[in-house]
Symmetry: C2
Subunit: 470 residues, 2 copies
């Protein structure tokens, strides 16, 4: 962006909205993608290791968002929405030709309605602040991404986020009541009105998972829950991941829905549950919540099903410990200092596919030179299948190869998943990292359809150019 353009935008919106100081540009030049952090780590002191946005626009209300969008549309300038920067797939990546649209100043809890269990938040509202606002009324959003303390409500919608309690409470698409957004032409829409409707296609889905490419989410109304009466914990050992998957399949298909069901393979048990490690056993942990009578029935049933499937009981303290420490987000730089680059890759498959996906992804990752860890756990369970969260860590002999090795790990894991018929993106979104693999999930026809929709909504291609669409 040339200085004249920035000056025009500043003249229109004021100096407190349009920012160009290096500190602001620097902290908004990328999200939590490991490679962006690596580039910054390896850059000279005070530099980011990547490009900066042309400027940062930080609107304070809907009208200012509209003004920025209209400015961008009129000048054909790119616009990159930014929530709180916790994305991990490079949905945000500095581009000097674009305006970084920082939604962080629109962070209000607009309303909480304890009768209808609805709450409205501005898009930049911090996730934990949102949860605490409804918790004060004895309610919960029921959406607990690991990033809850550093992510925004608008970001949850934009990336089609999942929370740790999804098996009972659903993913973000099951929690969203309505979405207010500014479309690329500057018009405001509020999508979603009734508890449920058959009034044409559900247009809310154009914005969920669009990662800033279809418009700017400005407000979100979520459908809440009352806080559960009771909570209980179970834990079980499985001899193999396959045995644990089979137990989970039986539990969910018998119509039990513990909100949390996570199975860790042996390497992860050693790393994350060392006090509970038992030989090569995998560990399945479950949190049970709800009315006391139902939780009691669920505990009895789950124990019986697990035993029938060949699992043995473990100390539920393992589950309780996980709950207490579950939202620790890794600091990439701590690993970089050790010459290690790591990440998690969440993929999914049907029950028949997931065992082979797990084996094949693990084998593929272990072929990468310098790999020091390849492990996985499952965390979201459905009637027809389950996800796995693969973790890799790589310490190449030559630290300059860290980025290349990282990309190789991703490539191998996604291609291995696709080769077994699995889904290559369970819940972190696609961003710039995964867009080249999106065809595995969407097919050529789906990609073409996505392009048609994008061209219709954003004919000038101003919204997050370069993101999501392959």
């Amino acid at each position: 962006m040339d200085a004249k353009l920035i000056a025009e935008l500043r003249a229109e919106l004021g100096p407190e909205v349009v920012l160009t100081d290096p500190a602001t540009l620097g902290t908004r030049s990328h999200d939590y993608w490991a490679v962006s952090h690596l580039r910054r780590f390896r850059a000279p002191e005070g530099e980011t290791g990547g490009a900066l946005p042309g400027c940062v626009a930080r609107p304070r209300d809907l009208a200012e968002v509209q003004a920025v969008v209209r400015f961008a549309a009129a000048r054909g300038v790119g616009l990159m929405p930014f929530g709180l920067g916790s994305g991990v797939c490079a949905g945000v990546l500095g581009d000097p030709a674009t305006i970084l649209l920082d939604m962080g100043a629109m962070d209000r809890v607009v309303s909480v309605d304890p009768v209808n269990l609805l709450a409205t938040f501005e898009a930049g509202c911090n996730g934990l602040a949102a949860e605490e606002a409804v918790a004060a009324h004895g309610l919960t959003i029921g959406h607990w991404p690991q990033s809850i303390a550093i992510s925004s409500v608008g970001g949850w919608v934009s990336t089609r986020a999942s929370g740790q309690f999804s098996t009972a409470y659903g993913n973000i698409e099951d929690i969203i009541h309505s979405i207010e957004a500014v479309l690329p032409d500057g018009e405001v829409v509020t999508l979603g009105k009734a508890p449920r409707a058959a009034a044409g296609p559900d247009l809310r889905h154009l914005l969920m998972g669009a990662e800033g490419t279809m418009g700017v989410i400005t407000r979100v109304t979520l459908s809440l829950r009352r806080q559960p009466e009771t909570r209980a914990f179970t834990a079980f050992y499985a001899e193999t991941m396959e045995q644990g998957f089979e137990a989970q399949r039986r539990i969910i298909q018998a119509d039990w829905r513990p909100p949390v069901m996570r199975q860790y393979d042996a390497p992860e048990v050693f790393r994350l549950f060392s006090a509970h490690a038992r030989g090569e056993a995998c560990l399945l942990i479950m949190v049970h919540e709800g009315p006391a009578g139902r939780v009691a029935a669920e505990l009895a049933a789950v124990k019986a099903i697990a035993a029938e499937a060949g699992l043995t009981e473990a100390d539920p303290a393992a589950t309780e410990g996980w709950l207490a420490h579950r939202n620790k987000v890794p600091e990439w730089t701590d690993l970089f200092k050790l010459g290690v680059i790591a990440d998690t890759i969440e993929v999914s498959g049907s029950w028949s596919q997931i065992g082979p996906i797990y084996r094949r992804v693990m084998a593929a990752l272990r072929e990468v030179p310098g790999i020091v860890n390849a492990s996985a756990h499952s965390s979201h369970v459905y009637r027809s299948g389950i996800n796995i969260y693969c973790t890799f860590a790589c310490r190449p002999e030559d630290a300059a190869a860290m980025e290349a090795r990282y990309l190789e790990c991703w490539d191998r894991a996604l291609e291995a998943t696709a080769a077994e018929g699995g889904g290559i993106a369970h819940h972190h979104g696609a961003g710039r990292l995964r867009k080249a693999y999106l065809h595995h999930d969407l097919g050529a026809g789906g990609i073409a359809l996505l392009r048609q929709v994008k061209a219709a909504l954003d004919p000038k291609e101003i919204m997050n150019p370069g993101n999501l669409l392959p």
Copy 2:
């Protein structure tokens, strides 16, 4: 359509696919919309009372669907998809300028996968045949629209259908795994692959509820359930609809989910549950299903909550009786012979809105000259609200006024709902009947967005012209 065009289509697809005999055209010239039936009833013997399609194309496989779509696109001819004709909002209405695309010959159960609880059906597969095919494996789709015996799987998707067991098992959008469709340009897409994905916007939603305006659904894969271990029944009297709504709100918000929860107002109790009528009391019936332990806990909890809300127990035989007779679909002509036109109008609202919506719609209907019944029941329950199903019957002094009175009832009911902030289309879709009211749900911005998407997918406007979009 001129004869030359039909001859060309027949030459391309064969005389067994392209039909023009009056009987075939006549039975596919409308759906189950009451007014189409009224017009036929009032027409001279052997006539339909409305226009016929230009011709009927009845493809037998995907390639033939593509051929018809490409033919229509190349010639700019309209194409009206037809499942089994059970729609009630005039999504299908004879038009001599269009090809009626009858999906009824594509009715196969393609596969049933009892491990992953998935089953694939061709779009024209009868709903009850689909349910019976999975029931043979001990499974259930869990989707029970009243029309199950006369509707198609593709039609369920196209109209965003709801089933009677939706409160626990979800509406059709919660049951769909993937959709195969032919887009207006003739390309095939298969949307939906993984159990859940964050791979861009969920494009399946472009076809759900599109009512034939965005493409032709050819196959659907549904995510099934195992048949429940136990079933139990409860029934309660409420003094007012509001008291019954409040009990339902407390039950669902305490995280109990009886698959069926239906509350009938006093006029409906007299008409449909005469043996159980008790003064002016409303009747709340519930079906409870699932593992025995959970059902037992649910029964105890629901009884306690109902009592606290002031409800009194009724004979559960009322519920059992409903279950046995629930899928009786009215024969319009039986009513027409009595000079009566009737229909149901399903709308929805939040818990705060639903009482006022009920009162206002009932009052609005009772003002229509000739009205002989205005009553309602609720049938689909959500954390944030509930639907009501309004039933009206009108017997104008002058039988020629039946159609006008019918449209007046609809107009009054939808405007009354919208005035209280409710949703004007819970699950039958919009069709040609409700499209003029769609702006109440979508707003001007939503309508404009829907038009943008339609123009992108179907720039030649060949798909079901005149339907859905206002």
